[in-house]
Every structure is written in C-alpha cells, then in structure tokens.
Symmetry: C2
Subunit: 225 residues, 2 copies
C-alpha cells in the first residue's frame, strides 16, 4: 500500500502551518490549498508560498470573488477590524471578522480537490478552544461536514475521505507547543488580520497568538523580527 | 412577519428553473445564484440571465476557476461528452460528466450567500430518480449538507436555514408536469451538456429531458424552436 495523500487547507498562519507539519509528520503526502477571498491580510498568502516552497510541497492557490463576503470586516475596507479585550474575544460572540460560511466553502473546495486527485484526507486547522466565536470552528460543524463530504463526493462514497482537524481540542498554547515540537518555522507564519508589514498586535488573532506563545514560553520569531 | 427569502441555485436548466418557479409559487422572495465553473455548456448561463430578467429576480453570477475540475468531461475540451444508451444512464454508475464535489461546493456557496444576506432557505434542483448517477444528487447527501449548513454558518446556528430540494423524489416526467403547471417557459431553458446553438440530443441530459417531455405529453419549446 502506498502512502496516504492529504489536501491541507493552508493559509500560511500559525494554525494551518502546524497542521501541515502535523500531516507530514503522520506520513501523509501533502498538497496544500490556499484560498484568496479578498481578505485584507493577503500577506498570509505570501507566507503560505514561502512555507510550501521551503517544504517542497505542491501548492494550489485559488481566488474566490464573492461580493457578499464584504459583509465581514476581514474583507470590507470600510470596516475596521475590532480591537477587543480578551474577555470579549473569549465570550465566543460572533465578531465582525466572521466571514459567512468560510470554513464550509473552504472544506467543500478542499473536498472537491481531494475528489479530483484521489486524496485520502482533508486537513484543516480550526480549534474550538482559543477561537473568536466562529460557528464554523466547532466539532459539531466538523462532524456534519465530514458526513456531507463522504456522502456527496465520488471519492467519499467509494473510498472514504478522512476530514481531520488535529487542533480542534487544543488551546493556542498547546498549538504553539505542538508547532515547536514539529519544527514549524514560526517566523515565516502570518496570523494578523490586518494587511500591514508587521503584525498589528491588536486584532483577535494577534492577541490569541501572543498569549499562546507567552504561555508556552516560546519566542515568536514573526513578532521579534 | 415578512416574506421568507430564498437563494435559488439556478443554472437556467429545466430543473433549476422549475425550482425557481416552485419557490416563487410558495411565496419566497427569491435571489438566484448562477455559477460558472468552466462548463462547456455556459450557454445555460445566458438562459439563466434571460429567465431571471423575465421574472425580475436578482441574479448573482460568480465564476470558479478550479483547474482540477478539468477531470470532468463536462469541462475538459479534450474529453468527449459520452453518448450512452438509456440503460447505461439508468445504471447510476458515475459518468465522466461528474464534476468533483460540484453540489457540495455549490450548496456551500449558496449557504454563504444566505448567511451574508439573511436568507431563510437555499433551494436547488437535484433529483434522485432520473439522474446520471451523481453521488451529490441523493437524499443522504442532502440531509448531511443541511446539517453542515445549519451548524457551520451564523444564520444556520442562530435562525436556521432550510435546504430545499423540491424535485428530489420526482421523475423527469413529473418535473415537466410540475413545470408546466407552474408556467415555466421551457423554451428559454437549456439542459444540453454541449456548447452548441441547439441541444445535441445525445448527451445524458438531452436524453433524460426528451423522455420526460415525451412521457408527460408536453411539447418542449427549446427543442422545437
């Protein structure tokens, strides 16, 4: 039996890069899928390209042009990305950075690619512990999406497609620890929601990342540089 | 309480046009979503635009550029669309015209639009009786996709989104009868998989359509003109 093949949803952020390293460590032959959807932080896509090149894994990059995604402050240039206190982030209220149906659409596209290329697994990096209240980062959603993929694709029906979310039950601190163990080049990853040259330090994503590194006792090369 | 709002996946074919008329007849305020994905028969999109204009419903048109969809003979110009006998079509083997994960991706995008615009329902036209063996046209898939949409979108979690497939259990003959009752302008609809000016009469879609009209005893204006 040959090696199993995985499609990894890969933004170039801390979480999806850790997922990619995790899947490689588990022995999967990986291809990455990076999706542009008008996000302000398309800087992350450069990060993704650098990391994919570093690992010599095949990278698929696609662009979605869905005008209605501008309802999200992650996309709409007229909306500011909020600077919220940690208590608010942890309340798990859905914030303005929520992108309608993003993980559902992303997983479906990854499943389409898995179907077309005969992959055995789809891997992505949602986590239900330190997250921003997004409904599409929960185990309940993930289970339902797994069913949909396995009933609605030829590959799923005939062979089965694993839908893996290795970070689902980890805190950001645990993710940093896992990444450090797997040798993730943190300095190449990009998490900030803003489109600047350096992480802003104020968005949910920067705050959750900073706390994760601090609590793990690991130096964040992306911030230090 | 105001009228309910629906997003209708709308290709301009017989089935999705019948769905659109069905949803309007049920009292939904409808917006249509038409998706180009490199299909040879993008002629259907002209049909969709004509019908949407005729009905004065809002039409969203998006284009997906996923290179791997060229595994399908519906997309790849180097593959012929097969001319199969009816017994083969009815065997429900997955044919070369299968587009990997198409309905999963389409439904997810429709759910994203429903999420962004606050719609109450997503409507689409799969049917599990007279179809070409596609795995994404089955009640099992539809049920799983409904769960995924209701767990993985803000609108689904907070309010619920109906995922309606009014043609699921109808034969093509019954669909023609329903369309005739609802006043569907058959002459404007386009079902053929080929990109020609007139329906080819040889693809699965033409054959299923022809039999449906013949058995319903209804004249197909699209073929006669």
């Amino acid at each position: 039996m040959g090696q199993k093949k995985a499609i990894v949803l890969f933004s170039g952020g801390l979480d999806s890069t850790t997922c990619l390293y995790w899947a490689l460590d588990r022995g999967y032959v990986c291809e990455t899928l990076t999706i542009l959807y008008g996000q302000k932080h398309d800087r992350e896509v450069r990060a993704a390209a650098q990391i994919a090149q570093h690992l010599r894994v095949k990278q698929h990059v696609i662009t979605l042009d869905f005008p209605w995604l501008a309802s999200s402050s992650l996309v709409d240039k007229n909306q500011q990305i909020p600077d919220q206190p940690m208590e608010k982030i942890e309340s798990h209220e859905i914030p303005s950075t929520y992108v309608p149906g993003r993980n559902l659409v992303f997983l479906s596209i990854a499943a389409s690619l898995a179907d077309a290329t005969g992959a055995d697994a789809v891997v992505a990096g949602p986590n239900a512990v330190d997250f921003s209240g997004y409904p599409d980062c929960t185990p309940a959603f993930w289970q339902a999406a797994t069913q949909a993929i396995n009933r609605g694709t030829a590959r799923g029906v005939k062979h089965g497609v694993e839908v893996l979310a290795p970070l689902m039950d980890l805190s950001k601190t645990d993710i940093v620890k896992l990444g450090a163990k797997l040798g993730v080049p943190f300095e190449l990853t990009w998490s900030c929601y803003q489109g600047g040259d350096k992480p802003c330090g104020h968005c949910d994503s920067c705050k959750l990342r900073a706390r994760g590194f601090a609590e793990a006792g690991v130096k964040d090369g992306a911030v230090e540089n």
